[in-house]
Symmetry: C2
């Protein structure tokens, strides 16, 4: 027994996670009832409780499964042998979309609110989802500095400034605008990091 019995279980789990994520992102955690989630996912309330313990557990699972899918696009780009300034522009182009996508923005919203109840939860999310990029980039900047390809004393501070330039506007606008009118001018977002390249003399 139960050779393929996991199958149903996994399907139910994914269906519920998908429905819960969609509704949480659209209306916020507190304004979505478990009944509404089950109505959307199919299945029954009982299985939801079987799989996720309670509503808070479901939220954790939703956020956790989204974090897992974090793509490591930055790794790939580092390998390229391009000039550092071009690498920075490429990272800008590749990361802006995913870090300002409605899914990311919506996750941020619900995590921030849940953080009022459980600070550690929000802190971990921020660390895993955002600060991790800073650390990756800081390492890269340090290499460039040591190789004479840039002049950067505080590499972590510099990486922070890079992401500030890149993401502040797009993320704040996303957080305060739920719907998707005003389609964020199609300009290449890499113009935003030019002050960074100039100041740190990135070759």
């Amino acid at each position: 027994m139960l050779i393929c019995g996991d199958r149903r279980r996994v399907d139910r789990r994914e269906a519920i996670l998908e429905a819960a994520e969609a509704l949480f992102l659209e209306h916020g955690y507190d304004r979505v009832s478990l009944g509404a989630i089950v109505k959307r996912s199919g299945g029954s309330l009982a299985t939801l409780y079987e799989l996720f313990e309670n509503k808070q557990g479901l939220l954790r699972a939703v956020v956790g499964s989204a974090v897992e899918e974090r793509d490591d696009a930055i790794e790939a780009m580092i390998a390229d042998g391009h000039r550092p300034s071009e690498v920075l522009r490429a990272i800008a182009r590749n990361l802006t979309a995913s870090l300002s996508a409605p899914r990311m923005i919506g996750l941020m919203r619900i995590v921030m609110i849940e953080g009022l109840r459980d600070p550690e939860f929000a802190r971990r999310f921020y660390s895993e989802y955002s600060h991790v990029w800073t650390l990756h980039l800081a390492a890269l900047l340090q290499q460039w500095n040591d190789a004479g390809l840039a002049v950067i004393d505080d590499s972590e501070g510099a990486a922070d400034l890079y992401f500030s330039l890149l993401l502040h506007d797009v993320q704040m606008r996303g957080l305060f605008r739920t719907s998707d009118d005003e389609p964020s001018d199609g300009r290449d977002p890499s113009w935003r990091i030019e002050p960074f390249i100039t100041h740190y003399r990135v070759q």
Copy 2:
């Protein structure tokens, strides 16, 4: 009659607003009951409804009264005859505290959530509270450019980058960390805008 009768009314109104703001900032809008607000403010549920119509009206009033108190520190600093780069550093020092204070961060949180229900509300808040700074600074940058004190073609874009550098880290950290441990290193935040000064050749 009612010459000084407004007095009680105004007192009640302010007491309720104060209690509601404190509780909303601490726990979030959805997780605070009107009963809890009244218990804290003193008074009665009936007066709350008399003054604010309903819970949503109370939220609007809380946010509205906070926005009114926006200080115009930036105006004062422009008058000074200092070098532009010093003016930028002074603005950085003066605005960082107020735009990253717990009150501001908490307001942002509740407005962002309410924005899921009423997008126009969130949009207006963002525009009045944040975008207005960008426009003010853009005008200043334009003047400097015209006077040969800086090289800035897109003054609004530049102003946006300035505030991105200055606020992204401190606001994001605030949004994801409800309590106030890790007291935000006492460093002068003006170091964050040095790339701006370098890139735009601000004198």
